[in-house]
C-alpha cells in the first residue's frame, strides 16, 4: 500500500518530465510551458490582435518553432523575446514596454485621476456657503407656518 502511495506521489513528476511534440519540435512539458508563456507575450504580426501562441498563421507557426528551438537550446526567456524584438520591433510585444515612447500611455490613468480630482475640487469649492441660521423671530414664524 505504501509503495503504491509513493508511486502515486511520483506521477506529477512523471508528467512534468514527459516529452511533448508541438509544431514538430519535441520538448519536455516544462520547456513547453515556458515556450507557451513566451508565445503568449508576443503578437502575431499577420493577424495583429492574436498572440503567436493563439494564431494559426504560417508565420506564427514558424515563430512557435523558433521559440521552442531556442527553449530546447537553453536560451533564457528574455533572450528569446529580445530575438523577436530585434527583428519585428517593440510592436511584437503584446504588453508595451515602459520607455519614452510609451510614457504618456502609462501616465494616462494618473492624468485622468488628477483631472478628475481637479474638477471635483473646483466643483466643491464653488458651492455657495450655507445660508445664515434663522433669527428667533423667523424661527417663531416658521413654526407658526408649519403648524
Amino acid at each position: 500500500m505504501r509503495r503504491w502511495l509513493f508511486l502515486l506521489a511520483l506521477l506529477p513528476a512523471l508528467a512534468w518530465a514527459q516529452t511533448v511534440t508541438r509544431d514538430g519540435v519535441t520538448l519536455t512539458q516544462a520547456q513547453e510551458t515556458r515556450a507557451e508563456n513566451i508565445g503568449d507575450q508576443l503578437r502575431c504580426l499577420v493577424c495583429q490582435n492574436e498572440s503567436i501562441e493563439g494564431s494559426s498563421a504560417t508565420l506564427a507557426k514558424q515563430l512557435r518553432v523558433i521559440i521552442r528551438q531556442h527553449v530546447v537550446a537553453g536560451d533564457s526567456s528574455k533572450d528569446i523575446i529580445s530575438f523577436m524584438v530585434q527583428r519585428y520591433g517593440i510592436f511584437v510585444l503584446l504588453k508595451p514596454p515602459f520607455m519614452p515612447l510609451t510614457y504618456l500611455l502609462y501616465a494616462t490613468p494618473f492624468l485622468g485621476l488628477i483631472l478628475g480630482g481637479l474638477i471635483f475640487w473646483f466643483a466643491r469649492r464653488s458651492t455657495p456657503p450655507a445660508p445664515a441660521p434663522l433669527s428667533e423671530a423667523d424661527t417663531a414664524r416658521l413654526n407658526e407656518l408649519l403648524k
Partner: protein, 186 residues
C-alpha cells in the same frame, strides 16, 4: 449658477466632442488617401545593414548574400515576393516600370515550393529582377523581420536599409515616398 459657468458647462463637452470628431475625420481621411496605415509597422532594420544570409538563385537568376548588398553603386531595392501572392501581381507592373528607369531590383522568392510556379509567375508578370534568390524555408525572411509578402526594402550606397514598405507598391507610394528617398541617397 453664473452665466459663465453655464456657458462652460455647455461649451466644454461640445468642444471635446468637436475635437474628437475632427481627430477621427483627419485619421479616416488620411487612411483613405493612403498616407496613413494603422497596420504599418516601422522596421527595426532601418538604419542598419541586412542580417547575414546567403540564398541560392531561383528562376534562372543569380542568388545573393548579405555581402553582395554592402555597397551598391546606386540605391537599390530588395523585393520579397511569392508566386502564390496576389498583391505581388498587383505591384508587378510598377516593379517593371521601376526596373525600366534603371533602378536595380533584387528579388527574393519567399516560401515557394514548386519551381514551376515561379517560372509561371515570371512569364505572366514579367521579370524585373536583376538578381533573384529563393528563401524556401522563410527563415531569412524572419531574420529580416518580413511579416508578409510583398515587402520592399530600399538599400543605399553604403548598404544600409533606408525604407521598408509592406504591401503592394502603388504609384502614389513610389512618387511620395520612394523617389524622394532615392534622390536623397543617390
Amino acid at each position: 449658477m453664473s452665466p459663465l459657468r453655464r456657458r462652460l458647462m455647455f461649451g466644454l463637452p461640445l468642444a471635446a466632442v468637436v475635437a474628437g470628431g475632427e481627430g477621427f475625420y483627419i485619421i479616416l481621411r488620411r487612411m483613405q488617401q493612403g498616407d496613413y496605415d494603422p497596420h504599418a509597422l516601422p522596421s527595426p532594420l532601418i538604419g542598419k545593414r541586412p542580417p547575414a544570409f546567403s540564398l541560392p538563385g531561383a528562376g534562372g537568376g543569380q542568388g545573393f548574400s548579405n555581402t553582395d548588398l554592402l555597397a551598391p553603386a546606386k540605391p537599390m531595392l530588395v523585393n520579397w515576393f511569392a508566386s502564390w501572392c496576389v498583391p505581388c501581381q498587383q505591384e508587378a507592373q510598377i516593379l517593371s516600370q521601376l526596373a525600366g528607369t534603371g533602378l536595380q531590383i533584387w528579388g527574393i522568392d519567399f516560401e515557394d515550393s514548386a519551381a514551376g510556379a515561379l517560372a509561371g509567375y515570371l512569364a505572366q508578370n514579367g521579370n524585373p529582377y536583376t538578381r533573384l534568390a529563393a528563401d524556401a524555408s522563410g527563415l531569412t525572411a524572419i531574420n529580416w523581420g518580413v511579416y508578409g509578402v510583398p515587402e520592399t526594402y530600399l538599400i543605399d550606397t553604403s548598404g544600409i536599409v533606408r525604407w521598408r514598405y509592406a504591401g503592394a507598391l502603388t504609384q502614389q507610394v513610389v512618387a511620395d515616398e520612394l523617389y524622394p528617398l532615392i534622390k536623397q541617397y543617390s
